[in-house]
Symmetry: C2
Subunit: 199 residues, 2 copies
């Protein structure tokens, strides 16, 4: 359909977002047209700012406004432990939890040869360099998702680090708190049995 140019451009932009096709993009564009001027201005501003003001921390790769990030530059954090995660969102989840006081390392992805993601495409090299520099690190916790890609990335990193004599651990796998055994998949159950703890 022939839309006025500004609308057509906005539809194109919305369509670049994941899970938004032409129909939804069109609906959103026309909705934007009816939104209060100020909301749209703020939207445009926050889009620009998120790219301008946020960068990857040069040490851990987490997104941050200052460099190094608040966690890396905090001397109160336990400098002997590094938790390796896939995404900045994972850091926020662990910080929300509040029990972890060590450092992080954000990979920004996992190894996935099918999608052309090799060790060079994610922050593995910077982790190794970091471990060579910061020789006080005693433990690396691999907190990657329980997906095939997450597991194989964990194996890959573990093989690289272990020879240096650093302890490598991964998160416990088992039943989620509040979940039903009935609905758990068999691999989860297997892990839960393998990792059983005494009461």
């Amino acid at each position: 359909m022939q839309y006025p140019l500004p609308i057509a451009h906005l539809i194109d932009s919305y369509m670049k977002l994941p899970g938004i096709g032409e129909k939804t993009a069109t609906r959103l564009a026309f909705y934007t047209l009816d939104m209060p001027e100020q909301d749209v201005q703020e939207f445009a501003k926050s889009l620009t700012e998120v790219k301008q003001d946020l960068h990857q921390c040069s040490i851990c790769g987490n997104i941050t406004e200052q460099d190094p990030c608040a966690i890396c530059s905090n001397p109160e954090r336990d400098q002997t432990t590094i938790m390796v995660v896939e995404q900045p969102k994972d850091v926020m989840a662990f910080e929300e939890m509040g029990e972890y006081n060590g450092l992080y390392h954000v990979l920004h992805g996992v190894l996935s040869p099918m999608d052309g993601v090799g060790p060079e495409e994610i922050n593995i090299k910077s982790l190794i360099t970091r471990l060579q520099k910061q020789d006080q690190v005693k433990e690396v916790i691999l907190a990657l998702n329980s997906t095939p890609e997450g597991e194989s990335t964990a194996m890959y990193i573990s093989k690289l680090i272990k020879p240096a004599g650093i302890k490598v651990t991964r998160l416990a796998a088992g039943l989620a708190v509040g979940s039903d055994i009935e609905y758990a998949n068999s691999i989860t159950l297997k892990r839960a049995v393998q990792g059983r703890t005494s009461l």
Copy 2:
């Protein structure tokens, strides 16, 4: 969860869009962070432009870059017929069809007392003023959606206009081309029977 401020602002902005909750907004915000710089800049620009460059045509209420719009200022269009529609998108649908050569009037909504939308909230007054000024208008086609709100808005407008001796018509209701009688609802079937035409 505690996000860096620019991300939190962007999540808030995404959440103002229809059908986008906090989870999706967060996913979109982090996706935006990984998008190419240029795409994000274009997105921000198109948001600003859609509000700056598009206005309602002072005659018909359609969205347009110039005022009056291309349709209203085109002397080739049939000045005796006005088609009343709900949204700018409807104008585009009829223009796409290509068979209609008259003018339009965009209401920007329908009467909906439940949502607090009365005759003052939509472009009904400007339609009446327009009909008083442009006395060459012979027919008003009410091309509103077949929803209860659309039907009652059509009835309301028709009652206002008819006393002036202007012909008021509405779109034919019936079976959609290519549709199955089996799946048509009974009101559609009733309309299709009432409006049957001879072969």
